[in-house]
Amino acid sequence: MPQRAFFQGSSAKLLVKQGTLTSSQIDEIEGLLAQHGMRLDRRPPNLGISPRERGPVPESEPERLEDSTLLVRRTIRSGQRLHYDGNVVVMGDVNPGAEIVCSGDILVLGALRGVAHAGAEGKTDAIVFAFRLEPTQLRIAHLISRAPDEKLPQPQGPEVARVVGDRIQLSVYSH
């Protein structure tokens, strides 16, 4: 077969994206590749970073983000800034000129009209939720979106913002 001839004599590297393989599984893969005339390169793949720089492996990362949540029982007004390492829940409004920055999710049980930055340390699956989501600017991880210059109709119900692809997308909240 032409395909077989094409791969003949080449070497392959194994990149495991999720989970781990036992050495017998790797041996099996090596056997399969050999049947097609390919050789498995067993050296650790070079990803441009050394294992140390990659930081702790996911399994050992503490579940701190999910655990710590700050409950704010008042309205955050213009000029007030709230920074928190974790999630933030506001029982009140976030007024224009106010700012919330946190490493986790932001939930506003009221109107969000100021600036909200969720997942500020790079957590792209962070969300921003509000009963009335009308932010001046919305940031999730490294992404920024702002309110359009023309006036929008007022949201009719709770909405949630999350990252879809490489954009922040607003949608009506449903669970």
Binding site: R74, T75, R77, S78, G79, D93, N95, G97
Partner: protein
Amino acid sequence: MGKVIVITSGKGGVGKTTTTANLGTGLAAAGQKVCLVDTDIGLRNLDVVMGLENRIVYDLLHVVEGQCRLRQALIKDKQFGDRLVLLPAPQTREKDAVTPEQMKELMKELREEYDFVLLDSPAGIEHGFKNAVAGADAAIVVTTPEIAAVRDADRIIGLLEAAELYDPGLVINRVRPGMVRRGDMMSISDIDDILAIDILGVVPDDQDIIVSTNRGEPVVTDSKSRAGQAYRNIVRRILGEEVPLMNLQERGVMNWFKRILSGEAQ
């Protein structure tokens, strides 16, 4: 024991001084003993609005520095005499010449003597604002139906909370009902939506204010003025009465006719 109320706004030019003068005069007309204090050091103008400029000998700074007795610096009003007095701001000195501690002491003294002490705060959120807030028991926030003024009012409400002055009353000044109706001006409910504090009063934009300010006679004593009526209502609310917000529709045959045509008049 009297009550010390600071009148503040953040943004300049929204009508703090006019509000202070009118509420002070209105409270005095309602039989209260009132002291007005101008804390806008270096830029005083409450004395001008009250028409008392030419009677100033001593000011706030002389009092806190002990160069005169408090009684010597208090200027009696033309109309109400002892019942309404003004402590003017120094015109020439540095604005941080007075400290918040000195203000607290002064307020303690004034509270003994008067039913209401109204503090006219300077614009801004710096030293002068901190002075004005230092000795106060309550606050009135003045705003106009403009986004910048409302934004600053919001900032001020936050700062008042930080200074432990909770639940300030809101005065919305210079409302033009026609513009609101056409959607060219923020409405009362737009403002209430953001600030969410008790509305003490809504004052319509009124040419009488300019006339009365230039004359040095607060409009609150003018029974024909719409703005005067609005201020009298605020005074009654400060004194604990329940007064509904007044209907701001412009009067006159033409306006009535316009409303009929637009289907608003019922």
